[in-house]
Each structure stands twice: as structure tokens, then as C-alpha cells.
Symmetry: C2
Subunit: 338 residues, 2 copies
DNA sequence: GTGAAAGCGCTAACAT
DNA sequence: ATGTTAGCGCTTTCAC
């Protein structure tokens, strides 16, 4: 396994010769041009099949100045998002959608040590468009890319001034209001929240939704602790909440991972879910439904988020007008924990 | 956001003009050729910086017949591996390693409806090499790719005849023996296992390790149920195990997700971990350490697996000899569940 | 050590 | 509807 014996790939010219037509005609057939005589089309297709011809991507890119490839950009500091199931599902949605198109998906980890490397790659004509997901930062510093190449963001921009960028997001605010109201309807009064970082849109918005629902009901909003979306941080936040020695009969966690971290702490303290403390999460992870009791949560399709981002980008690349904002709905899944 | 106003990118020729040298020299500088006069090197570099020049990938690929890009191939049926944290970490490891090289990472979801599409893409000179990860199938049907392009597999081939392929794997057999022996040393006797699918190497090998350790101790190996590595399947397997009404004082699960699924069922049955049933998982997920009690597990660095796969592939592409097999070690992490 | 020139395989006017 | 002809931007002999 050391030598790379590339078999000589058949070229468009060879196909042309075999089919007895010009290279231009072969190119037209390959690219599905409408005006080629049917008989020639089949002749060409036969030759293609016999030769097992595959167009050379590089040549095509060079000549057409389109790359047919899009990049999924992940800020390095955020690269741990890989282990976040929600994020992983987004990639999956993107990949699955793109598989139905001719676009190729490239993963780019944006080195923060050398940001220009990434920027150059992205603006250097290597890609037709970019998807930027920074679940944990909401950083739209790549917004300027938008001037050289279409960009679609996952998650809303944190600052209003980035408002001209195109993004797809889940409805975090009303989702968390729904979750909190659900707890209120169940008769809970001392509802705490384990929030995500306030400098990330998902963290900020889910906290905001909880506040709104609580205000609306006239309840106190002092029962709040922050985590970083990891299970361990959820556990620590729960510990701090319990240490306050204030009555708590429910917890709304900004994601399932933190909710599950809280589960452990609640159990350790001899408390029962949902009898003593009801718990609601967010994201609808696979583990939530297998937990005991099964976790009530807000479902949102990360797959769909990814797919919508991808299709929005493709439309934009192809010159169609697209919505600047697309907000995907969430829905409450009531299970045993509330 | 509909028109794609590509600013005219500077070309190598423009750099040459500005630096007062020929295009060939610029090319040499860009590619780090050893024999260019230092003064010219700096002149060229200055021009490059001033123009903010970026080499055009397509042109380079076409002229050099190297693509500088590698594909990570994921069989469609396996695409849910995206939500498996272990797998997600592999991608992360690959991406991080590749970020230190000049190679670009492409994600290819291999459509099973149209396998030729993928095969052609991979063999059509679009990539310099491929990484194949099919955690859940061990399918080395892409082994033949090895004839046109270097391929490195994640996970060993399920069948011996695929033995000439290059792969990197974690040491599943001795890892699960270690886990099982640990349980035995703790005085457990009726040790059940929640195994993974037998048609996947990780499932098969982890079951085998458990069997070996049990045989070695002269214990009965009938306490086995299978899952599919998902939390829900782990819960169901645990339910079946408990329904046997046979004494069980420990469970070795083939991954943490199933172990955590089992946690829920054990709790539902009023049993205590580890007092009544000790539990050991595999993979060292983030959630395991936040569970209550914290999960004892086998740690293996998925990040490292990914990085090693990537570096092995790059070496192979560059004509160096590489090990056909690389087995990464695992280590036991003892926590509260055992 | 450096430059001139010939392609790499394809697309896209333009001509017919 | 099909063929002819220039390139796309770079690498790479081959001379000098």
C-alpha cells in the first residue's frame, strides 16, 4: 500500500471519438443540454457507459468557474460541537440533502490561530457557498464572506447589526415559553432554569423564553444557574440550585444533556422526578427518551435544520431569492419527567 | 442575496507581473521549491501579500493531477452514526488533523440506491484518498476502491478475506476482557452483557471479550441480550435480561449509550447500582460521567482514532509505507457504577 | 536558477 | 442542432 497506481481515466475526448461526435456534443449530453438529437444522446451515453467515463471535476471547475461544492465551516473553538448530538444531526441533515444534489460537502475547521487561511480558502474560489454553524457562539464574524460568496448561518446572529445575513434557526424563544408554561400548567410554582451561556443565541433565547413565561405568570425569576450545555455543567448547576435551600419544584434545562446531568444530582439528593422536581429539557436527544423517568422535552428537528440550511444555500447559489430568516417550529413532547 | 458577485481573483500571472518574474518562478515559490534565489522569493511573497493572492484549487488540481482532498465515506444506512458521540469524535479527530495539512475534507454519504454514483466519484480522480467509517456494519465493500485510490478503514474488516485493507481500530477484544475481569475482581458472578449487533466488528469483538473473560473464570455465558448501540435498545435488552428471573449482579454493556438505557430500567425495577447490579459501559461518553452513579467504562480516544486514520491515509497518499493494522489501546475508567 | 511554452480536461462563445 | 476554437489558472518539462 504505497504506490498509487492511477488507472488512466477516460477523457471526454475519448468519448467523443468513440461516439463519432465532437467534444462539445459530449459535453452537452453530459450536462443535459436540451438541444441534442436523441440518437446522438444515446450514442454518447453508450460510449460513456462502455468507457466508464467520469467527468473530471477539476477541469470542469476550471472551465465553468463553478465548483459545485459547498463548505460547512466550524469555528475551531466550537469544534467540540461535534459531540453535541444536536449539532451532529445538523451535519447529517446537510449531508443527506446535498446527496440529492450535485454539490459536494466539505468540512472546514476554521483555525483561529490562522483565520486568514480559512478566509482565503473560502473566498479563493474554492467553493460556491458556505454554511456556518457555531451553535455555541452565534458568531457571525463570517458575515463578510457574504460579499464574495453566499453564506447561510445556522442560528440567528447574536447582534442585530448582522441582520442582513441569511440564517435558519429553531424557535428558541417560543419553544422555551411553551416548556415553561407546561410546567406552570402542571401546577409548578418554583420553577428554576439551567440556562446556556448568555453569549450564545440558543442560550440567551431559551433563557429569555423562560423569563417571559414566568413574568407572564407573575412568578419569580431568580432561580437561575448557567451551564455550558454539557451534562457535567448541568449537574453542577443543579447542585448550586439545590444548595440555595429555596423551594424548587421544577427545572427547565436549556438542553437535554444538562437536564440529564441534573437528573443525577436530583437522585443523589434523594429527591424524586417528577414528584419532588419536574424536569423539562430541550432538543429531544436519543438519551432523553431512554432515561428514567423519560425526559419531557422540546423537540426540534436538527436534521431538518441542516436540510433547510443546505437547500437555502443551494437556491441562493443558483441565483434564486431566499428568505433571510427561516424559523423552524418546535413542539413539546410530554414524557414522565413532568 | 441572490447575485453572486465574485470579485475578480488575482491570478498567478498578475503576481508574476508585479514581482517582475515569470509565472514559473511564482509557481516555484508558492510550492516551496528549494532552488529559487532568496531575493526573488521575498519579492514574490510581497506581491502575493499585496494582491492577496490565493492559488486556484481547480487549476492546480488539473495541472498537477493531485486533488489535495480526501473523502470521508459514510454508508447511508449507517448515517445515523452521526448521532453516535463516538463517531462524531472520529470526524472531529479527522478534521482537526487534516486542518494541520493542506488536505481538504469532504463528507460523502454513500447512497445505497445509487452506489455507482459514489464509486464513480471516488474513483473519478476527485480525491486523493478515502476514509471509510461504518461503525455499524464493518462493511469493507469499499475495499476494491483500494485499487484506484488509497483507502483507510475505521474498524477492522468483518471478514478475513478483506485482510489486505488498511485499517485503524480500537482494541475491542482486550478492552472488553478488561471490563469483564474488573467486574469479576469486584466479586460479581452473574455477569450479563448487553451486546452490540454481531454483524458489526465492534459488537462482535466486545461480545467475544466478555465471553473470553467469563470462560477464563469458569462462569456461565448465557446471560446475553443484544441491542443496536442505541439507548432505547439498551433499555429493552435490560428488560429482557431482568425478565429471565435469573440472578444478575452485573452488566457489561457494549457501549455507554446502552448502559445508560439499562440504568433507567434498573432504577424502574427498584434495584440499586452498584449495590444490586454493577454496570460497566464502553466508549467513555460525556454523559456517562454525569450520570448517577457515574458510569464505569472503557475509555478510548475516538479523536485519536480519527487523527490516526487521517495521518495514515495522508502517508499512504504520499507514497510512504504504512502499517496495515493499527490497534489503539483502551483503558478502564472506574467510577461509581461498579 | 529562471523563463518559455505546452498542456491538464473541460466549457462556452461563436460559427455554421 | 453540431462542430470549431479559445481559453480557465496552474504545473512542468525543456532550454537557456
Amino acid at each position: 500500500m504505497s504506490v498509487n497506481a492511477q488507472a488512466q481515466a477516460p477523457t471526454l475526448e475519448m468519448v467523443a471519438a468513440r461516439a463519432g461526435v465532437s467534444r462539445a456534443t459530449v459535453s452537452r449530453v453530459v450536462n443535459g443540454s436540451p438541444k441534442v438529437k436523441p440518437e446522438l444522446i444515446s450514442a454518447v451515453n453508450e460510449a460513456i457507459a462502455e468507457l466508464n467515463y467520469v467527468p473530471n471535476r477539476a477541469a470542469r471547475m476550471l472551465a465553468s468557474r463553478r465548483t459545485e461544492s459547498i463548505a460547512l465551516v466550524i469555528p475551531e473553538s466550537t469544534s467540540r460541537v461535534f459531540t453535541d448530538p444536536f449539532f451532529a444531526s445538523i451535519i447529517q441533515g446537510v449531508a443527506m440533502h446535498l446527496a440529492t444534489t450535485d454539490y459536494t460537502l466539505g468540512i472546514v475547521v476554521a483555525s483561529e490561530a490562522n483565520p486568514d487561511k480559512t478566509r482565503r480558502y473560502l473566498t479563493g474560489g474554492n467553493i460556491d457557498g458556505a454554511l456556518v454553524v457555531s451553535h455555541h457562539s452565534g458568531d457571525h464574524s463570517y458575515a463578510r464572506l457574504g460579499r464574495s460568496v453566499p453564506v447561510v448561518f445556522g442560528g440567528r446572529p447574536l447582534h442585530a447589526e448582522d441582520n442582513d445575513s441569511v440564517f435558519v434557526d429553531v424557535d428558541n424563544i417560543s419553544g422555551s415559553m411553551t416548556a415553561t408554561r407546561h410546567l406552570i400548567e402542571r401546577g409548578r410554582r418554583n420553577i428554576a432554569t439551567i440556562a446556556g451561556p448568555a453569549d450564545m443565541p440558543a442560550g440567551f433565547d431559551r433563557e429569555l423564553g423562560w423569563r417571559r413565561a414566568m413574568d407572564e405568570a407573575g412568578f419569580d425569576t431568580s432561580l437561575i444557574e448557567w451551564g455550558d450545555f454539557s451534562p457535567a455543567s448541568g449537574a453542577m448547576a443543579m447542585r448550586r440550585l439545590l444548595a440555595r435551600n429555596t423551594p424548587i419544584d421544577a427545572v427547565f434545562a436549556a438542553n437535554d444533556q444538562m437536564a440529564l446531568g441534573a437528573y443525577a444530582v436530583i437522585a443523589e439528593n434523594g429527591l424524586s422526578i417528577p414528584r419532588d422536581i419536574a424536569v423539562v429539557g430541550y432538543d429531544d436527544d436519543a438519551l432523553g427518551s431512554a432515561a428514567s423517568p423519560a425526559l419531557t422535552t422540546m423537540h426540534q428537528s436538527a436534521n431538518e435544520l441542516g436540510a433547510v440550511m443546505a437547500s437555502t444555500l443551494v437556491k441562493s447559489i443558483e441565483g434564486q431569492d431566499v428568505e433571510h430568516q427561516t424559523i423552524l417550529q418546535t413542539r413539546l413532547i410530554v414524557r414522565g419527567s413532568s
